[in-house]
Amino acid sequence: MFAHEFMRNALIAGSFVGLACGLVGYFVVLRAQVFAGDALSHVAFTGALAAAVLGLNILAGLFAATILGGIVMGILGDKARADDVTIGTLFAWTLGLGVLFLSIFTTQRSAGNGTAGVRVLFGSIFGLSTANVRLSVVLAVLACALLLAIARPLLFASLDIAVAEAQGVPVRALGLGFLALVGLVAAEATQAVGALLLLGLLAAPAGAAHRLTTRPYRGLALSVLFSVGSIWIGLALAYVFPTLPPSSMIIAAAVGVYALVLAATLRDPRTGWFRLASGNVA
């Protein structure tokens, strides 16, 4: 499995994407901003296709769009937490723009490129070049460093915004910066699992970590462990069974871990039976 270069590339890039997603996802879930992550994934789709139509570098378009999208959502929201309806309206339109770019792109170069939209939507981790891998490693390390630098005040602001504000923590700036960071990570993850599936890497490992512990640093570590682990499991599955798409397998692994953790923590202490479980329906 390690003999193939594409597999090594996928594993290296995937591990770093998992690291970044696990760390950022922990805060995304803590701040109940999963919907913002959902919106960013659609922004990623539109950004990449817009760049493709304009003949620019797709990666550049992707990163510019998601980081900008994060900042816009931060500005629109109250206390840098955009409300769901505003986000929803905004990304419904973004998606419409994405469809426009997709149709322009597919009519522009009808030969051979009809699946470009699908690639952006669902990723192509087995098709990463060595240069791509290097870039995603650098960006993941950058995102993690930035996040760890603001981790303490961000944690404070996420847990009790009023007290943090009274203590002089720049709540608004932190929220904005955090959403921009989520944008960076979203673009990063789009390469690995695609725009539509990156939500799973942000939400599922972090959701599982939050169920297991309330202690932040332990939770961060668990979240990273789950997300990197599910990327490895997913890649291995896709390697062993070539008909299975890697991005689907990665998300299936992540959600599987989440469902297991839910099932383990949902047991009713009195009866020993599972309560009406939400996760294991999924």
Binding site: A92, L121, G194, L196, L197, S248, I251, S278, A282
Partner: protein, 299 residues
């Protein structure tokens, strides 16, 4: 000259253009289907926005995609997949909402569910070789290939969904605005919440066959959000939401007919444009009122 390239066959004479819109049966079907979908989305969307369930609504609309993909893989009619998956999704979402956990745990659960749905959809599509180009139409819809049979089914489903909401409208409104007081007043809040998600799933399943899984959400959320900006009164708000949805659907279809760009782009852009105008107008008015108030105080 750009206009000539983008808008083909437009004579710029409104009467002839309107007449041409109704010439072809496929266009008549599309307009009928669009009308039905817009009414249904306007009603259910208004309650979805009121209940702050946009994330759940978006997840339901995304679940339509694996439904369709699974149906084409299994060789059963697409509608079976749409309804089956959206029904299951509504069940799961009701379970998540019913477990009364914290906001962050709930959003993580919904997000995971949505990602799983999309991953399954992509898996089914990959297993069903050769339809990779079909993904686009599952996701973004084919407004212009609707049969009269589909319109009839759509009408039945929409009538069912809208009348269910109409029957439960009063208690549902009560439960959505103040769940605690409603519960104390004997309103079955949980049952209503579950029922509403099922109706939402039903209408999403039906709508996404035409607009595609990714664009249902635009019709659900944007006209309703605009209506909520304009008035807090329920009946007026629902009426506004329906009329806005109807207007953008008709206009979007007409624009798409005369141009080379997809209908989804027009519908989302038109509705977003109205939303921005309304929000901007409101912000301007409240600022003017604030300055007027300050001036009064100064005097």
């Amino acid at each position: 000259m750009v206009e000539a390239a983008i808008f083909q066959g437009l004579s710029w004479n409104p009467v002839t253009d309107l007449r041409e819109l109704f010439t072809y049966p496929f266009m008549v079907n599309a307009l009928e289907a669009g009308t039905i979908v817009a009414v249904m989305a306007g009603v259910t969307g208004w309650f979805m926005v009121l209940r702050r369930q946009t994330f759940a609504g978006h997840t339901l609309s995304v679940i339509a995609f694996p439904g369709a993909a699974a149906a084409s893989l299994a060789g059963v009619p697409l509608a079976v997949g749409y309804f089956g998956f959206c029904g299951l999704g509504a069940l799961a979402l009701a379970g998540i909402a019913g477990s009364r956990r914290s906001l962050s745990a709930e959003s993580a659960a919904i997000g995971s569910l949505q990602a799983l749905a999309l991953a399954l959809g992509f898996l089914f599509v990959s297993l069903y070789h050769g339809v990779l180009n079909g993904v686009d139409s599952l996701l973004f819809g084919t407004f212009l290939g609707i049969t009269s049979g589909q319109v009839a089914v759509l009408l039945v489903v929409a009538t069912a969904a809208v009348s269910l909401v109409a029957i439960a409208a009063r208690p549902l409104f009560f439960a959505s605005v103040d769940a605690e007081v409603a519960r104390a007043g004997g309103v079955p809040v949980r049952l209503l919440g579950f029922g509403f998600l099922l109706v939402l799933g039903l209408s999403v399943a039906e709508t996404s066959q035409i607009t595609g899984a990714l664009l249902v959400f635009a019709l659900l959320v944007t006209p309703a959000a605009t209506a909520h900006q304009l008035t807090p009164r329920p009946l007026l708000g629902i009426a506004l939401s329906i009329s806005l949805a109807l207007a953008v659907t008709w206009l979007g279809l007409a624009l798409a007919y005369f141009s080379i760009y997809p209908v989804g782009f027009y519908i989302t852009s038109l509705s977003f444009g109205v939303y921005v105008l309304v929000r901007g107008g409101r912000a301007l008015r409240s600022r003017r009122r604030a300055t007027a108030g300050l001036a009064l105080e100064a005097a």
